[in-house]
């Protein structure tokens, strides 16, 4: 038996926005389970999510959003879900837009779809600092891994079952939007970008303070640079489990 779609929503203090996200996504994607991964919010995010029909798990925010997504990936792997959709809790990814991203996956054209706000004319545009860091990381991704992505930090990513399995069975896997992209690319999965019209944040606080943004940049750039094999080439697990 295999379930259809799992939507994971990492959240922290989003009681105002999360209800609409859960209800909206449940309406758009018919047979989907919603899993809210909460970082021990101080407000009623957990109660609100459960009331609107979402499963809730809690991963301490001290471990970052990465551990939250990894828990979601583990959950999807154990629950045999066909697709894993990751969206933000603040309502920046409108559910009707997310539905459009599923087409290439259902047609079997891609294993990994990213919702990019730069492929079209989105309502939301990030500030300068964020733009610079995004383009730097995108450049590094293209330069070091030959993978062309326009929005590498997008919080809207969709994986097929194979990608989920690939990540879930790697004991050392540490999630970040960027790491997921190059790891999947190296393993031979087909990554596709589709335009998603992102709405500006309506309520709540972004977790992206300048300090966190700096750490995020530092961590990811270091990660990217060190991911290049220099002397000792580690065998790469490909999607079929064979190493090259």
């Amino acid at each position: 038996m295999s379930n259809e779609i799992l939507v994971i929503i990492p959240s922290l203090n989003e009681e105002k926005a999360i209800a609409d996200v859960i209800v909206g996504i449940k309406k758009e994607l018919n047979h989907c389970d919603v899993l809210v991964i909460d970082g021990y919010s101080r407000d009623n995010t957990v109660e609100v999510s459960r009331k609107h029909g979402a499963h809730v798990i809690q991963v301490d925010k001290a471990f970052g959003i990465a551990a939250a997504i990894e828990a979601g990936i583990l959950y999807a792997d154990r629950g045999n879900y066909q697709l894993l959709v990751r969206i933000d809790a603040d309502g920046q990814h409108p559910p009707s837009e997310v539905k459009k991203l599923l087409t290439p996956l259902l047609k079997g054209e891609a294993d990994f779809v990213i919702g990019s706000r730069f492929l079209g004319d989105a309502d939301y545009s990030p500030n300068l600092l964020r733009n610079v860091s995004i383009s730097t990381i995108c450049f590094l991704l293209k330069f070091l891994h030959r993978v062309k992505i326009t929005d590498c930090t997008s919080g809207c990513q969709i994986y097929t079952r194979e990608v989920v399995q690939y990540f879930a069975r790697d004991k050392d896997f540490e999630y970040s939007e960027i790491r997921a992209i190059w790891m999947a690319h190296k393993a031979g999965f087909i990554i596709k970008e589709e335009f998603i019209n992102m709405a500006p944040r309506l309520t709540g606080q972004s977790s992206f303070s300048p300090m966190i943004a700096f750490f995020y940049m530092f961590k990811n750039i270091l990660d990217l640079i060190l991911s290049v094999p220099i002397i000792l080439k580690k065998p790469i697990r490909t999607k079929r489990g064979v190493s090259v």
Binding site: Q58, V59, A71
Partner: protein, 114 residues
């Protein structure tokens, strides 16, 4: 040439560290494999006392004219090795704790109210 006194102190210091670490390991205050760098460190000091030629060769090799400074180099180097070992241990434990956190989160899953 190291004085006899300096050699004696070096050996005694090495033995003291060795004894202290052994004591702590026996008392289960330090997990045995984590004590390995400490053991190597104390052995280094004992060796320096027994074979003073080692320090002199090292000093000559590094172009240090004041031999006792070479002892400091060894001591700092050994400390760095211990700190590095600790960094590795901390990172491994961080990874394990993350793993536990994820598993516990999945075990404590709350069902929707329907």
């Amino acid at each position: 040439m190291m004085s006899f006194k300096a050699r004696l102190i070096s050996v005694l210091l090495g033995i003291a560290v060795l004894a202290l670490i052994s004591f702590l390991v026996r008392r289960r205050r330090i997990y045995n494999i984590y004590a390995i760098t400490w053991f190597l460190f104390s052995l280094l000091f004992i060796c320096m006392g027994i074979f003073p030629g080692f320090v002199e060769t090292l000093a000559a090799m590094l172009g240090i004219y004041f031999t006792p400074a070479a002892i400091l180099v060894v001591a700092v180097g050994g400390t760095m090795a211990i700190v590095l070992h600790l960094s590795i241990i901390v990172s491994e434990q961080h990874k394990q704790i993350r793993q536990f956190e994820k598993e516990i989160a999945l075990l404590k899953k709350e069902e929707p109210v329907s």
